[in-house]
């Protein structure tokens, strides 16, 4: 079948591929500037304490030390990404009076090299007055718990309520009701490039920053807030970024401290967080206590669901407020609950801050929801696929008062997974296949950041040789947005992918854009890029139509570098020749196209949603509780597939991360201290643990997306933990309700099951 597209859907190399396989890709980590200094951050060893005194005099005297700063050197502003709500902007970054978690920054040093800076940290004397601390949100909401932020009662940072239908009345009509409790663990992002920044203040008072970031615009704006600067005096450049996964779009200690030090010295300062700092003092996935009540008719039709959630917020708000909202919304996914109620509470604790991480609250809600629906199916004697089919979302469905879903391929995904399971021969003993269904958003509609700009914007400039420079504030953090957006641009203009050169993530030259989070770039940036390309294209067409003497009833289009009549493709001229003449005709001005996208009247959450169903096969060793992930097969739909190699990569990578969330990743703590802050001790899936991964692509078309495309990044992180839990139940009949599902927990549950059997 020939595709109607020329570029979209092709298995292309990423536009930055050769740089990445030759080691020539330059990351912030690789930036070295003349006269550059190296910075280090001193962090609190205590979970909760008043800062009485900081003596930096000895550190300042150390040869090679150029500056030492503390909270007193800052303006004392508090940052937060929920800028519309000042009470939620609660993080000073360099603490002035109080520290709230182990890792909270208290001072920073700039020196001629990293070793000297490190040595200077030891010479800074901080006098603390230790305060009682609290680590578990269920403890922190008690009356007598220590108060972490002044004026915040019961340490409740924020609460969220979502409701539709009449939940209490509906539960009365149910034949069967289940109530279950779950605990979702923390997870570290483990970006291979740790957080880093090179900040350079000039004597002209302007700030230039190279940093590993998911949103250059957010970082620029947050700098402006913290430093009382005009945002246009700040240039933030995101070069190649060594992973983000939700951890890199809030102003962090590397960015802020390097800027404060550079401001003092007018010399560039580079700060690269160590792996230990990355684990202990950057943000992480939000741990949640989940209480679920689910009611159904005998035939499996679900009538009502109630979810109550208490999340461990850690010391500050961060993006945790969004995670609290999204976990509540996605707790209803991907099903048509006629009655639904959610109450979520985010509670401050004296632990490292919890915030956004790939899936953004939905991996938690999907794990608990998909575990419970399997339990429900089991109780009612209904097949797990069948109960999902009976209740699953369909195209053009309105989540009451919340969201409108246009394209939705959930049912086709269920069919494919059912086929896949039926194809398996009889499984060996102690093997099981569990399923899990999910959905996710293609970018968020909410504007808590209070941007006055369009959510996404792009500029296209067509040069004399017909080649295109594409400028977008999107950030490629490895997910391949530079490639996807270049493909969309090339497709719209009818030219080759090699004809597009992309400039992204640089606030000095790119239009403001919210950046890479919430799986927004393919749809939102994609629309902006497509519109910018269309704008440029229409200008070329004016010249082409005149040049060709076309009857005005005919339409023109460009394909493969040729401008032609749509109805008579054989009549055409070279795109490259027309561009030359057009620019001459415009008095030598390059052709510029502009495009932007902001969702309007698309509900409260997102303009589009993707769906999928995953089946995980496990093999359990009943003697030890150890189990192996044998195969993970995913049927998913993400609208038109723009970049197939990119989507496959997203899918397989998501299984590594989401499988890890179900299987092994955790951050155990002792009095607020993370006990495994190294890659040796933080267990994640390595190549030998990685299961086979099969992909079943489902065709859908999203009317709101560019060329029909929607998200394929984060949604894929949602199903795996639930599928693993359900697979273990199928394999050996034990159910684990708290993540991660470690061999130890499986072992204990198996022994418990045996004991109960004997007791009977």
């Amino acid at each position: 079948m020939t595709s109607k597209f020329s570029v979209i859907g092709q298995r292309v190399h990423n536009v930055d591929g050769t740089e990445k396989v030759t080691g020539s890709a330059k990351y912030t980590f690789d930036v070295v500037l003349p006269n550059m200094l190296y910075g280090k951050v001193l962090r609190s060893p205590h979970p909760h304490a008043k800062i009485l005194k900081i003596d930096t005099s000895k550190a300042k005297k150390l040869i090679g030390v150029k500056a030492v700063v503390t909270g007193k050197d800052t303006l004392g502003h508090k940052q937060g990404i929920w800028r519309r709500f000042p009470e939620l902007c609660d993080e000073e970054i360099l603490c002035r009076e109080k520290v709230r978690y182990i890792g909270d920054p208290v001072a920073a040093v700039a020196a001629i090299d990293e070793d000297t800076a490190e040595e200077a940290l030891d010479l800074i004397e901080v006098e603390y007055d230790l305060l009682p601390a609290v680590f578990d949100p269920l403890e922190a909401i008690k009356e007598d718990a220590p108060q972490i932020h002044d004026g915040v009662e019961l340490n409740i940072n924020i609460n969220r309520h979502i409701e539709w239908g009449d939940v209490d009345e509906a539960f009365k009509k149910c034949d069967y009701i289940r109530e279950d409790q779950f605990k979702c663990s923390s997870q570290a992002h483990v970006c291979m490039e740790t957080h880093d920044a090179v900040a350079s203040f000039g004597h002209n008072g302007k700030l230039t920053v190279w940093t590993s970031s998911q949103s250059s615009y957010y970082i620029q704006r947050l700098y402006a807030d913290m430093l009382d600067m005009r945002e246009s005096d700040i240039r933030v450049m995101n070069r190649h970024t060594g992973g983000g996964f939700g951890s890199k779009f809030e102003l962090d200690s590397a960015q802020f401290c390097s800027a404060i030090l550079s401001q003092k010295l007018c010399q560039p300062v580079k700060i690269v967080l160590s792996r230990e700092e990355e684990f202990t003092a950057t943000k992480r996935r939000t741990p949640m206590y989940y209480f679920l009540k689910l009611g159904a008719k005998k035939d499996g039709t679900m009538l009502a669901k109630e979810a109550r959630v208490i999340t461990e917020g850690g010391a500050y708000t961060a993006m945790g407020a969004t995670a609290l909202y999204l976990t509540g919304f996605f707790s209803s996914f991907p099903y048509k609950y006629p009655n639904y109620r959610y109450d979520g509470y985010r509670v401050y604790t004296n632990t490292a801050v919890t915030s956004a991480m790939r899936g953004f609250g939905a991996p938690q809600s999907t794990f608990v929801g998909e575990s419970q629906i399997d339990m429900m199916a089991d109780d009612l004697g209904i097949d797990p696929i069948e109960i999902r089919r009976k209740n699953g979302m369909t195209p053009n469905y309105e989540v009451p008062g919340q969201a409108f879903i246009q394209s939705c391929g959930l049912h086709q995904c269920l069919d494919k997974i059912e086929e896949h399971i039926k194809k398996q021969d009889k499984l060996p003993a102690n093997h099981g296949i569990g399923v899990s269904a999910y959905g996710f958003m293609s970018g968020g509609i909410f504007n808590w950041f209070n941007t006055p700009y369009a959510f996404s914007a792009a500029v296209v400039r067509i040069n004399i040789d017909g080649k295109v420079d594409l400028y977008t504030g999107a950030c490629d953090i490895g997910q391949g947005s530079n490639t996807t957006l270049s493909m969309i641009c090339a497709e719209e203009l009818g030219i080759k992918l090699e004809d597009v050169r992309i400039f992204s993530g640089d606030t000095g030259i790119c239009p403001p854009d919210l950046g890479a989070w919430g799986s927004r770039e393919t749809l939102m940036n994609g629309n902006a890029v497509k519109r910018a390309a269309a704008d440029a294209k229409s200008q070329i067409m004016e010249f082409a139509a005149a040049k060709m003497g076309v009857n005005i009833v005919y339409d023109l289009d460009i394909k493969d570098g040729r401008i032609h009549l749509v109805d008579r493709p054989e009549r055409g001229v070279s795109y490259y020749d027309i561009v030359k003449e057009a620019i001459r005709g415009k008095d030598g001005v390059a052709i510029m196209g502009r495009g932007h996208y902001t969702p309007h009247r698309k509900g409260m959450i997102s303009p589009a949603y993707s769906f999928g169903v995953q089946a995980a096969e496990v093999a359990v060793d009943v003697e030890t509780g150890r189990y192996k992930l044998v195969n993970v097969t995913t049927a998913h739909e993400s609208g038109t597939v723009v970049n197939p190699l990119g989507i496959e990569g997203q899918l397989e990578g998501a299984i590594m991360m989401a499988g890890g969330y179900g299987f092994c990743e955790d951050q155990p703590m002792d009095d607020g201290k993370i006990l495994n802050p190294s890659i040796a001790d933080y267990k994640l899936i390595r190549s030998l643990d990685m299961p086979e991964t099969d992909i079943l692509e489902i065709d859908t078309y999203e009317p709101e997306g560019p060329f029909g495309a929607k998200e394929a990044g984060e949604g894929l992180t949602n199903p795996t933990a639930g599928a693993i839990g359900n697979a273990i139940y199928k394999a050996v009949g034990v159910r684990i309700n708290d993540l991660p599902i470690t061999p130890e927990k499986v072992f204990k549950a198996l022994r418990e099951k045996e004991k109960n059997k004997k007791a009977k």
Binding site: T18, A25, G649, G653, A680, T693
Partner: protein, 159 residues
């Protein structure tokens, strides 16, 4: 007190003076400007700094530079011959075996060392060969497919 370090990197002889505690990764990156070699943990557990030392893959953050005295080191910059990419580099491109790219140099070096030592590894041996390298983006399978394609002879050494 600095000591003399004489070694070859990507075929080029160097004669340097380094502090005894200097790591091989530091010399490569900071002295020679070979920034393709990354640092993800500085404790030999992530593999981003993997290079070849006398044909064997080592984590350059856990080798003292002076231990490389008299040795031949190959970094990711040494894989391509002029403008011709190595078979593994081309296979990585075709199979999308990289995303953020930060682990990619280390992955390529571990894979290259594996194929130098064992040109016909099984799938399990390929998995073992890269088990010391963390990739947080790809989920490894595309890397395994790329190495497999090279093993099957789908990518010839460029002349």
């Amino acid at each position: 007190m600095k000591k003399e370090l004489k070694f070859k990197v990507n075929g080029q002889p160097y004669d340097l003076f380094v502090k005894p505690k200097t790591l091989l990764s530091e010399v490569l990156r900071d002295e020679l400007g070979l920034t393709g070699t990354k640092r993800g943990c500085n404790s030999s557990s992530c593999g981003a700094c993997t290079v070849m030392l006398n044909g064997m893959s080592v984590k350059s953050c856990s080798v003292l530079a002076l231990q490389a005295n008299g040795s031949e080191v190959v970094t990711v910059e040494g894989l391509a011959k002029g403008n011709k990419l190595s078979p593994l580099q081309r296979a990585f491109l075709d199979h999308g075996s990289y995303q953020c790219g930060f682990c990619t140099p280390g992955m390529l070096m571990s894979s290259t060392a594996l194929l130098t030592e064992n040109p016909k590894p099984t799938k399990e041996e390929i998995k073992e060969g890269i088990d010391g390298n963390i990739c947080r983006c790809t989920g490894y399978n595309s890397i395994i497919r790329a190495v497999t394609a090279v093993v099957k002879g789908e990518y010839k050494e460029a002349k």
